[in-house]
Subunit: 243 residues, 2 copies
Amino acid sequence: MTYCVGMLLNKGLIFMSDTRTNAGVDNISTFKKMFTWSNPGERVITIMTAGNLATTQALVSVLDERTKAPKDRKPSILQAPSMFQVANIIGDTLREIIRDQKDEGQQASSTFNATIIIGGQIKGSEPRLFLVYPEGNFIEASKETPFFPIGETKYGKPIILRAYDPDMSFEQATKLLMVSFDSTIKANLSVDLPIDLQCYEANSFNVTHEKRIYKDDDYYLSISSGWGDALKAAFEELEDFKF
Amino acid sequence: MTYCVGMLLNKGLIFMSDTRTNAGVDNISTFKKMFTWSNPGERVITIMTAGNLATTQALVSVLDERTKAPKDRKPSILQAPSMFQVANIIGDTLREIIRDQKDEGQQASSTFNATIIIGGQIKGSEPRLFLVYPEGNFIEASKETPFFPIGETKYGKPIILRAYDPDMSFEQATKLLMVSFDSTIKANLSVDLPIDLQCYEANSFNVTHEKRIYKDDDYYLSISSGWGDALKAAFEELEDFKF
């Protein structure tokens, strides 16, 4: 599995993704799941991927090739006039890749599906965040649902539901996502460090912060143990049940 | 879906189950998922069920009928000499019911599977807790894995992993399970109140506490809002990330 979260803040966008891929439990590897294309000063587009690794790698390669061959019949995400069109291109490309893999060749027992989070900003409009389904259609984040998790989403959702605030700083939002990732990593073998972090400040049209966080990262370790202690203390403070 | 947790404590056993059943999101009902058979003073056996409702109701009815017709060819769980034999009987019965439904009649798109938690004590041995799979085989809780969740298990697991302590009182364990249930109910429509609670004190051979907790239960409401506030406060106390 995978765990990635994209989140819309008043300050901009924040992305976090793990790097574990697995085929069963005895075949695990580390692969990056966060990819960025940009025209500095004009647009930044970041995607995160969950699902079949061959599908997501093919998607990234196709998107990447098209940005380098601008005369391709198909438009590049670096030329698209809006984030909506970017999501359209990525959705169409994803659907084609899945369809091509299904039609021919060997049959695999697992599916070729993948789900994609897209976030970014193009000059002239606000930062936007999308979730693309394997069918190629997509939804956009809004004030009511300002974040999208993909992959192994359940363990880490309760804390985001409780602590998310659109006015958060990137520092606070990073803390929130680290707590959410730590809860997931503690409960599920198929999600693991290192994790990739990226922050995009609205109207900067450049990646603001980018960092890979490893197992021995001091801050991650302090969150991981500190959150356990804080949870226990918070739990102790609640009144016990009385029969 | 469903959410049920059975937990082994030094003091005995605690069980909590929700009551929501659903076929899609537009057909929801309330059904009890916790059932107890006892010979007061000699044995108490409690089961909780997740999965296809027709299967679990058939299982409960068959188990119940056999306790009332002691000369049945198949043994009753009230006659079995050990909790291991009780788990064997329930596993066999479950497998038969699933097999019978599969072999004949209409084909359903959903499966007839079910998963069962069994906990209890028979005079002469310790309290024991089992998890029975749809295939009829089962595993037993141990010191390393002292609790079994079934159904929609992921949202509520992180807090149990962090705060469980075998020395907990029933009052503290009830609080822990309520927090875990509240996290699940907040994140997933297919789990809902009322919830059933049962505590069994080791070597009492009688149900110690039994309670149904409704939506307007004062303690549940105080946990639900108090836990949100406590989580936020605990989260605030953690140091923010620094870029």
